[in-house]
């Protein structure tokens, strides 16, 4: 709020109106004022910068995880035609196995359901 009220133009006018002995004092005040302003903004800047680093880091880490740590064998310079290493294939099969889940086959669903008792009921 103070910063918007205190314009550079005002500073120049004030600077001009003071004698030399006061000029340094005004200048020091101006510098200190602007430093304070930056300091108040620092936490916000820190949060934004660290968030950006975190997101970029996450993307990079994710990409590295998806790639293989083993040596990539390039069959030619075309990026879309890269051969998979044995390690990559093992990882790929591991992924497939995690998708396969035989526990989904539930045998007792029907037998375990409690039933509506109507057989022996009469009005």
């Amino acid at each position: 709020m103070q910063n918007s009220e205190y314009k550079t133009e005002d500073f120049i006018n004030a600077y001009k109106s003071f004698n030399n002995s006061k000029k340094n004092e005004v200048f020091n005040y101006y510098t200190k004022y602007n430093q304070t302003d930056i300091v108040t903004k620092l936490p916000a800047i820190f949060v934004i910068v660290s968030s950006v680093i975190f997101v970029i880091g996450g993307i990079v880490a994710f990409t590295i995880t998806q790639n293989n740590t083993g040596t990539m064998i390039e069959s030619n310079t075309n990026q879309s035609n890269i051969a998979m290493t044995k390690d990559e294939k093992v990882k790929s099969v591991k992924l497939n196995l995690s998708k396969y889940n035989n526990s989904n086959t539930r045998v007792n669903d029907f037998e375990n359901t409690p039933r509506i008792e109507l057989a022996s009921f009469e009005f």
């Binding site: 994710f62 990409t63 998806q66 790639n67 293989n68 990026q79 879309s80 890269i82 998979m84 044995k86 390690d87 990559e88 294939k89 093992v90 790929s92 099969v93 591991k94 992924l95 497939n96 196995l97 998708k99 396969y100 889940n101 035989n102 989904n104 086959t105 539930r106 045998v107 669903d109 029907f110 359901t113 409690p114 039933r115 509506i116 008792e117 109507l118 057989a119 009921f121 009469e122 009005f123």
Partner: protein
């Protein structure tokens, strides 16, 4: 790895995970809904039996009997809903669809109409008999759906695991893998024959073989589990 696959695969896994969680949550909600209806039906039935023993007017008994029938039909509807999602899965993904449950929903609506229009206890007694017959029919249909669903899931698991075993075989040369694959292939052929034979059966035929289906599915599920463990061993050895 292909650049597109690198991004599509994780996305597909996330969608798969979300859909599995979603389906399970949906089934849990349906089960909770059915349990609540069942509890409500038991309460209404108990209230009616108390009412019956008291000297009350016919109007009160008719109202009470209607309440019992309406609540029992609600409970039957909630029970059918639990199997409807299984029918949807089979009808969407299997080559042989099931059509019996939608007919049951039409019968349920007609029965509800008959109960609400009943004027005396005699008509309501007929409704009760019809409801009992209908309920038995629903149980038979749901038993059939359950058999078909178990067979469908086992078949799906065989298909998925076969893809994994073939993929593994393309780059790992191991005696353990060869033996596992041979046993698995034999079991897969045996199950495929059994599966195609079972899905051709009518509701009545399949229901009469229900214990056999249960035992077979249990046995094949165990084979699938054993094969998966063997493949994990092969992968672990290949990773070392």
């Amino acid at each position: 790895m292909n650049t597109k696959i690198k991004y599509i695969l994780p996305l597909a896994l996330i969608i798969f995970f979300v859909s599995v969680v979603g389906v399970n949550a949906q089934m849990e909600n349906l089960r909770a809904e059915y349990d609540a209806k069942l509890a409500s039906y038991d309460q209404v039935k108990t209230d009616y039996l108390k009412l019956k023993n008291l000297a009350v007017t016919d109007t009160q008994r008719i109202d009470g009997a209607k309440k019992v029938l309406v609540t029992s039909l609600d409970s039957v509807s909630a029970y059918m809903n639990m199997f409807k999602s299984k029918v949807d899965v089979i009808n969407t993904e299997s080559e042989s669809s099931i059509g019996s449950l939608p007919d049951k929903y039409i019968q349920l609506t007609n029965l509800g109409k008959k109960v609400s229009e009943a004027k005396n206890l005699e008509e309501l007694k007929k409704c009760l008999v019809d409801t009992k017959v209908f309920w038995q029919g629903v149980l038979d249909s749901c038993k059939y759906i359950q058999s078909r669903y178990m067979l469908f899931q086992t078949n799906e698991s065989y298909t998925k695991l076969k893809l994994v075993a073939d993929e593994l075989d393309s780059f790992i040369d191991s005696e353990e893998l060869t033996n596992t694959k041979n046993t698995f292939t034999a079991s897969n052929t045996e199950f495929s024959n059994y599966y195609s034979q079972m899905i051709k059966k009518s509701e009545q035929e399949l229901n009469s073989s229900y214990p056999d289906v249960q035992n077979s599915v249990t046995r094949y599920t165990k084979i699938l589990g054993d094969t998966e463990s063997s493949l994990v061993n092969v992968i672990q050895k290949a990773s070392q």
